[in-house]
Subunit: 339 residues, 4 copies
Amino acid sequence: MYSFQNDYSELAHNDILVALTKLETEQNLGYGHDKHSKNAKRLIQNYLTPDCDIHFLTGGTSANKIIISHILRSFEAIIAVETGHINVHEAGAIEASGYKILTVKGVEGKITPLEVREVVKANQDEHSVVPRLVYISNSTELGTIYTKTELKNLYETCLELDLYLFIDGARLGAALTADDNDLTLKDIATFSDIFYIGGTKNGALFGEAAIIKNPKLKHNFKNTIKLNGGLLAKGFILGAQFEALFTNNLFFRLAKYANGLAKKITQGLKKLSIPLAQRWQTNQVFPILDEKIVTKLKEDYHFDIWETRDGKQTIRLVTSWAININEVDAFLETLAKLL
Amino acid sequence: MYSFQNDYSELAHNDILVALTKLETEQNLGYGHDKHSKNAKRLIQNYLTPDCDIHFLTGGTSANKIIISHILRSFEAIIAVETGHINVHEAGAIEASGYKILTVKGVEGKITPLEVREVVKANQDEHSVVPRLVYISNSTELGTIYTKTELKNLYETCLELDLYLFIDGARLGAALTADDNDLTLKDIATFSDIFYIGGTKNGALFGEAAIIKNPKLKHNFKNTIKLNGGLLAKGFILGAQFEALFTNNLFFRLAKYANGLAKKITQGLKKLSIPLAQRWQTNQVFPILDEKIVTKLKEDYHFDIWETRDGKQTIRLVTSWAININEVDAFLETLAKLL
Amino acid sequence: MYSFQNDYSELAHNDILVALTKLETEQNLGYGHDKHSKNAKRLIQNYLTPDCDIHFLTGGTSANKIIISHILRSFEAIIAVETGHINVHEAGAIEASGYKILTVKGVEGKITPLEVREVVKANQDEHSVVPRLVYISNSTELGTIYTKTELKNLYETCLELDLYLFIDGARLGAALTADDNDLTLKDIATFSDIFYIGGTKNGALFGEAAIIKNPKLKHNFKNTIKLNGGLLAKGFILGAQFEALFTNNLFFRLAKYANGLAKKITQGLKKLSIPLAQRWQTNQVFPILDEKIVTKLKEDYHFDIWETRDGKQTIRLVTSWAININEVDAFLETLAKLL
Amino acid sequence: MYSFQNDYSELAHNDILVALTKLETEQNLGYGHDKHSKNAKRLIQNYLTPDCDIHFLTGGTSANKIIISHILRSFEAIIAVETGHINVHEAGAIEASGYKILTVKGVEGKITPLEVREVVKANQDEHSVVPRLVYISNSTELGTIYTKTELKNLYETCLELDLYLFIDGARLGAALTADDNDLTLKDIATFSDIFYIGGTKNGALFGEAAIIKNPKLKHNFKNTIKLNGGLLAKGFILGAQFEALFTNNLFFRLAKYANGLAKKITQGLKKLSIPLAQRWQTNQVFPILDEKIVTKLKEDYHFDIWETRDGKQTIRLVTSWAININEVDAFLETLAKLL
């Protein structure tokens, strides 16, 4: 059995493990006050607009919950696409913190400025929640990415409407190293209020780096981390990992490698005339196959089934830093034989 | 500088690091469905009453928040001692989940059956919260431990009053290996409804094992973990660590070692005629020193100041699996010179 | 100006005012422990299945929030139609209590057993909320009503799937006195776990009577009322009003009167060949008119605009116990002239 | 049986009932957009600093919950005296909204600037909540009142420490008409950020007028009212009552009358040499009696027992606008006979 189920099936990239094990008995201050966390922040800050606050968090759902609950007051709400991670795969984490998610259809998993305007217009009186935060993912849950123009327009719409823009960057590495991408980390900081850089899905044991650009959102963020159970006692574990990720471009190299394998899969599928449910852009590929083929593939491979309709199934193939290129070839060969 | 500030200043015990790094590129299922988590549960189950549910969590505050919010309905409340971790050091995590903590004075950091009865009696009508859960820590925040008789009496009081008993075991290893201890892990499961076994403060990178004995509390616990942002994508990191901790008695050996060093410190302090603010029992020691001495000590050592009164300071010294015995000797010599 | 905007534009029916003012200086116990509340409960209990718990609440949103937050644990969720009051007109009250609302399309404002099954099927793993409560309104937000067969089927589906069924009865009077209705109050209690009988929209100053049939949901309900700020100090105000409403059939007579006026409007619209956006059944009528006509009507009448599309507007006309029949005639004449 | 149990045992003062019943079939806009609410706000505004926002709420617990949850972000907390209403008699309403109450001892039920400073000093790091709001009651739960100097000092301390000051005015009428009082409504607005004027305990059926002076706290307050279930559909019921209360000084006259009766009781007790547990200042009197006497008194009177100790009981006697002066005389005579 080989797994294309997700990008967090393996422990961590060797550079990260080496960086960590070097600390074995080194004494460090707790809760992120250590030197590794400080150094990692310095390394990341080089890629950003000046004076961002940086905090290391343990995972994506936790990051989303912490960031959203830090920003919003009790009467405020979030705008997101229906397929947004916070709306479907987080067991009600956002509502459990007290906030309603106002959903829009989106286009290719991305929200449009027009949709944002319409939600704001429809929620104006005292019987409505007050939209205050736009949540997007880049890359999205469908593997697509925002262009610089799209992000800039969305951010300007948010500024105009007095909304905050928050980018879930669980797969930001995949977005920033995509062939189609024209955004830098600095652009991400420029055209948003707060975002995070995902480590879990890009080679770390776990960990996300939250970046707060908007000064209004900076104070007491660590209290919010703590009260949500997200403040790691041994915060230096996160610091050391991000030191490694932002040394020698490891973060970007790992993501680019994963995208390259997805491209190879996409090209192989094209040769086999297999249609995709979503345009390919990053490390997720969504081929549509006959149910029978999927059943056969399941004997040798782990992957998720995204949708079942009329005897066809859309499956999701995810690549990562840890996937062996030979396994990609083997998968395509297996598939070719099954057709 | 050497640190006696806490028991989570170093990365992890070598056995754990070795167990982890072996997994480097092994593919595992996500979210705790992996074989290491399953095996670790099997190893822990051997120490418990039959048919406990076991879940691995990422840290103490997170564990407390998840367990309490899983159990309680919106109108229910917790009884705890004033010094309880949930009441003072968790940034309002429990209240943020919607629950009031009803506090009692306690004796040596421990709650008494009489105190529980009094709180229940005082909260009987519709203008009160409904006490439903007793929270205790073993070892306590003051380093003391519950005897078997004390725990049994408390649990029976809870049964009588229709209350759940939850034990915060962030330092359960220290409790169970204390010289004065007469409890086993099986006793802990027998005389409580739910508890956790702390890894973070006993040699792991991070991680706590939640044990649910009461069948009423078992269903949907993973949903509660997820919605609190506590479900690690790479759950096998937790599984592999607890496999190591519960192999060759590592968990108990590390805790016993830490207690032994604290005993050595306690004996050294006695020779120096330095009084303790709390009876010594586990890996925390609370000597009372002149402020001037403390100021001097601070030049060479990290530790917390617990209380300042009348020119005297109570400090807290914490030992762990990673503390070097020579450093304990050196500390006592330094202190002797300062007196 | 005359208002068909809602059924709570006037103070209260004279019988209720008379009953209230009789109490002027009578001393009563607080918080619903008074004799009027007890007597009102006795009067209502006559219409129900045996041994229901009855509590008086102050309004609809408050009742929905109290009932839902009383029932659900933190990981559980609600199933409701998109147009459900809790989903659109309560400013996020339910999410503020921590619960996600899983919405379905519904048919004529009513949820179907099939929709319930599909939601349960789609929310099975630890990354999902756990559906536990089905919320319906009768009459619905679109003025339609459930038949006995529909309600029975829905309740049996809920029993099968271990879901609670909660009926928002803000306009239950209108439903139970509709020409098409085949349900009694006893049926409502038989085929649900909890519901409320709306007073605010049927002649009271304010007030809803919550009826708890399911024994599991009974205990500590008053604590939940209190913690949500819904426990009226002078609870006898609610008791006395429901005494009046359930004396001489006042509750049913007022609702029937309102429905009769809506029927008259519906018949008048039919004569004028004006189409309805929703089938008429109770005290709400939804005619579709040209925008120009609506603009003219707005000069003389208060009413809500429900939807605007392609130069047409659906408006909502609501009748109540307080509407003068002559005003209905006048409205129809005005409309006829404008066409 | 006669009741001195509280100040909300009777329906409402006749002026209020007359004002209400005049509206019987008058059509009004819903949710506080009506002309009576507007007029009542105008009448109250005359007593305040310029440009306050005024909203009518349904009761004290609801007002406390709405105001606190409107102001605080998720990581922020409240400072209050142990005896504060929000801490003991609201069934966890504040914690249910997610906020911790940090309690201090207080002096005669009043918080001191020093206590506020100490709490702020003790809650400085990421493991603590962030104190942001000081909650006081005037008159307090012990019947005492703040002097102008005390309130000014407290408010200035709050300004210095970046805290909001919120005054629970459920019995503000009693405070402002006390013999010892030197505060006006304008002073209350000057030396606080937000407060409310209690109607429920001073002659209304129910209702509190929330006054928001601090501009930062004004926006979206009605959304917060709604999401807490506190927005009355027939808001004009509240408007009309406050119109009556602020016409011909009714609000002040009723409170003064209640205080006068409490004074009479206090003087009577003095003659009987019965000690008070609290200094008398407003409409609450706390005599200490032998348990046997209390048991006898209970045969003829309703009142609360405040504390039982060493064979003595402190009872609470509350007077109101509705108490008959002859009943006060009768009570004192009964007591004299029992001694």
